[in-house]
Symmetry: C3
Subunit: 115 residues, 3 copies
C-alpha cells in the first residue's frame, strides 16, 4: 500500500493518503481571535485545502470528529458546518467537548475522506 | 470508490460505507432519562441497526471510540458493552471522558466496521 | 474482507487488521508512576509492539489520536513523540485533553496504520 503525506510539519502531517482514503489531521483556526463561527469557517477552509491536495473534496468525506472547547458552542459550530457541508453527501460525525492545545482555540476538526 | 450514506440527517449521516468499510457516527441514547447501563444498551442497539443497514454486524467492528461524560461511569458502560460485544471478535477501542451535546447524555459511541 | 485480531482482552483487542489497515486500540502506560515523558515512551513502545504483530511499523502510521489529561503536558508528550516518530513519515494527528480511565494515567494514544 503506497502512502502519500501532505504538508508534513514538525510533529505530524496535514493529511495522509493510503489505499484511496485520506486521513486529515485535526485542524484549528489560524486567527484565534475569531469567534466560534469564524474559527469553524477557517478550520473548514483548511480541510478543503488539504483534501484538494489529496485529490478529494468535502463531498467525499466519510467521517469527521469535531472537538469544541465548550459544548455550548456547538450551535455556532453547526451553523458554519451547515453552510459548508454538501447536504447530499453528509459524512458520519461525532462531536464532543475537549480542551485544545491553546486556550484561545474554540474548535478542532479531523476527518477521513475517500479520494 | 463508491460511497453509500445511511440515515442522512440535517448535520451528518448515521453511517457511511466506502470500500468495504462502514463509518458509524457517534450514537447517543434516545431516552436520556436512562442510567449509564440503559443509555449504553440504547447506543449499542442503534449501532446494531446502522451496521445492519450497511450489511455489517457487531462481529465485524474493527474500532470503537467511547466517550463517557464521567469516567467513573466506565464500569456501567463496560457491563453493557460486555453483554453485547462478540467475545470472539473484539474490536480495538479507546474510551475517554468528554462532555456531550446534552448534559443528560452519559455515553456516546462511534465505530468503524468491515462489511 | 478478512479480519485479524491481535491481543484480544476482556473488553477489546489491542489491534485489528482489515484490508491492509491496522487499527490500534488506545494505549496507556504500564507504569503509571512515570511522568508524561515516561508514560508517553511506554505508550509508544506498546504501539510498536502491536504494529509489529500486525506486520506494520511506525513508518506506516496514517493517523494518530492523542489524549492528554492535562493539555499543558502536551510539550512533554511531544518531546517523547518527536524522539520516536519517523520524521520522513509523519502521520496525521489530533491531540486533545480528556480524562482517562485511571487518574494516574497522563496520556493515551490510538492510531491507524497501513501494513
Amino acid at each position: 500500500m503506497q502512502i502519500t503525506r501532505h504538508e508534513p510539519g514538525k510533529l505530524f502531517a496535514g493529511a495522509v493518503e493510503a489505499n484511496g482514503f485520506v486521513f486529515v489531521a485535526g485542524q484549528v483556526a489560524d486567527d484565534l481571535a475569531q469567534d466560534i463561527g469564524g474559527q469553524t469557517r477557517q478550520v473548514l477552509a483548511r480541510i478543503d485545502a488539504l483534501l484538494a491536495k489529496a485529490g478529494s473534496d468535502k463531498s467525499r468525506i466519510l467521517w469527521a470528529n469535531v472537538w469544541v472547547t465548550d459544548i455550548r458552542n456547538r450551535e455556532g459550530m453547526n451553523a458554519a458546518w451547515t453552510a459548508w457541508v454538501d447536504p447530499r453527501n453528509l459524512p458520519a460525525r461525532a462531536t464532543v467537548e475537549a480542551k485544545l492545545a491553546d486556550p484561545r482555540m474554540l474548535v478542532e476538526i479531523a476527518c477521513v475522506a475517500a479520494k
